[in-house]
Symmetry: C2
Subunit: 347 residues, 2 copies
Amino acid sequence: MADGRGSRTGTSGGRGSTPGLADVARRAGVSVGLVSRILNGDSTLRTRAETREQVLAAARELNYVPHGAARALRLARAGAVGLVVHDVSNPIHAEIIEGAQEALASSGQVLLLANARELADGGRAFDRLVGEGRIDGLLWQGGGFDFDTALAARASRTLPTLLVNSRPLAEVGSVRLQDEQAAECAVEHLRELGHERIGFLGGRPGSDLSERRKAGYRTAMGTEDEAFVVEQEWDATAGYAAMGELLARGTQPTAVLAANIVLGTGALAAARERGIRVPEELSVVTIHDAWSAAHAWPPLTTVRLPLRAMGRRAVELVLDEPGRPELVLADPPPELLVRASTAPPAD
Amino acid sequence: MADGRGSRTGTSGGRGSTPGLADVARRAGVSVGLVSRILNGDSTLRTRAETREQVLAAARELNYVPHGAARALRLARAGAVGLVVHDVSNPIHAEIIEGAQEALASSGQVLLLANARELADGGRAFDRLVGEGRIDGLLWQGGGFDFDTALAARASRTLPTLLVNSRPLAEVGSVRLQDEQAAECAVEHLRELGHERIGFLGGRPGSDLSERRKAGYRTAMGTEDEAFVVEQEWDATAGYAAMGELLARGTQPTAVLAANIVLGTGALAAARERGIRVPEELSVVTIHDAWSAAHAWPPLTTVRLPLRAMGRRAVELVLDEPGRPELVLADPPPELLVRASTAPPAD
DNA sequence: CTCGGTTGGTATAACGTTTTACCATTCTTG
DNA sequence: CAAGAATGGTAAAACGTTATACCAACCGAG
């Protein structure tokens, strides 16, 4: 057996050494295995209250914290979940991240954040994240790219994998929100105000998210008219450009539904730049809520979806649900938040 | 020795098994140690090109990826860096995150994202992140709270730790940007336009970031006048409220410098809500750039700072710099981006 | 007393790597 | 042709956990 040093000294400089199970055991005068079993609350174990106390005390005094890697190795569980997003700066992702962190923190896990494009870029990044046993589950925020589905499918061969905000695949489950209903809700609001010529600014064409929101828009409009639909990408610049294109078509919409808040912000900028007053001449409503909606000018009317709850559920599903779960989170239903960017049409 | 199963079977369902070093060794007809040394490019090793080829081929065919936890255990290196932020939804943090990810990806590491408040909230979250040997270094985005410095100091006893965007402590190094110069640059711009009554909207009082930007503001103004200074918090609501307070003071500023883009957005909303036209009656300039600045209405004049580079450097420093590094990143200097939110004063 | 059961633990083998120390061969070379 | 040095590898011990199998001591009952 090893001699009783029992220290994990950091490589650099004068960092302190971390006590191991062996140190606790020595201090409590018991065996290593016993300490482990006590600390982990092994129910098959019968022990005197006295020794139990001694062990707990020793652990406390030494400030014992189990070594994650050793544990991960032994248990074949990493204690971490990976989350892949396309764009951290998107406030929508921020809320999902927070939800995921919440769920993880309460079950003692940590979050590993990765970038979709980096993983897609050929290198070893994907293998390092997925293959190395670093994570117990992978959440992939679908962006509508081919590599999204390809990589998620590949990951699912090794790990429990879940697509977030996206359509499920044959091999990979998913969790998403009531996007159609949210879009419907937004359009209803506009129609109740009296709007009839309503545009739709979507995100990346073909992406599940844009498709579903477009579907909701169509349902509420009761038409298949493409003249009012523009889909480009998910960033603000695209929202700006899409709004420009919609206006250039001469269809004269009196209102638009932007598929998310980032696009909505871009659309707002495009309208104002052309001297179109919002909401007097153009109403704008978006899906998702965030600080930037409330503090835009004019403050954006939005439909709030439970993004944070989705992040939470995603973690729970990927860790606890064995099969290929498929969930549309409906619990807090889409909620319309009326602000100043929508009003009855001028004429 | 163990029998030759050589498979790491996931706990759940029908996931595939992952090959280990032993499988590669068996297939190549060599010993485990040799495979390890070849795969890691051990320079002290002399081997026939032939066996080397066989080993590499076997690894490739089996799609071998080393097991992270095993490696972490053996090497006492986690291959990950922790980043603690206060608010993921802040676009500034987003850029830092991206920079950090860039640097990590290129050195084969991953990013673990944690929430400052969760770590501060008593539970075991802090120990799990810092004590478990999950990370090789910790980056802490200072928010000006007491627990920020307290926890960073505590972490530094176990791990290389670096404060980001914050003043260094006695025990903990830091990396930050030329915030004073950026603020000066912004104020200079306003003064060149002819403004004299210039307000300063800061973030959390006492936070290093707010202090340094305020210092730059004062340097450029050449005054200690407090009448134009309001500091509250870092979120948009605070920016909105702070702008409201500044206006309520009756000091009649013709321009304001908002300490960051989130505050600037809030300020913009507060001004417009009071019918104050920007930039005709009030110029607004902020520090940091992001999509929401370019697409605000009016588009915000900003001073761009190399946030992404800071994220990158932070990772490099925390991993490679042994001591207590202290860096003010000056390389791409602050850059003024003039947009439509600033103009000469009306009168 | 002796047999079986309970009580309260211990010893040991993994988990998958990396590394150190060692060892057969085969070449040189004096 | 023996001694030493290359050459090309192998065996085994860690790293810190957890789980399984075992075991000593004591107790009560037959």
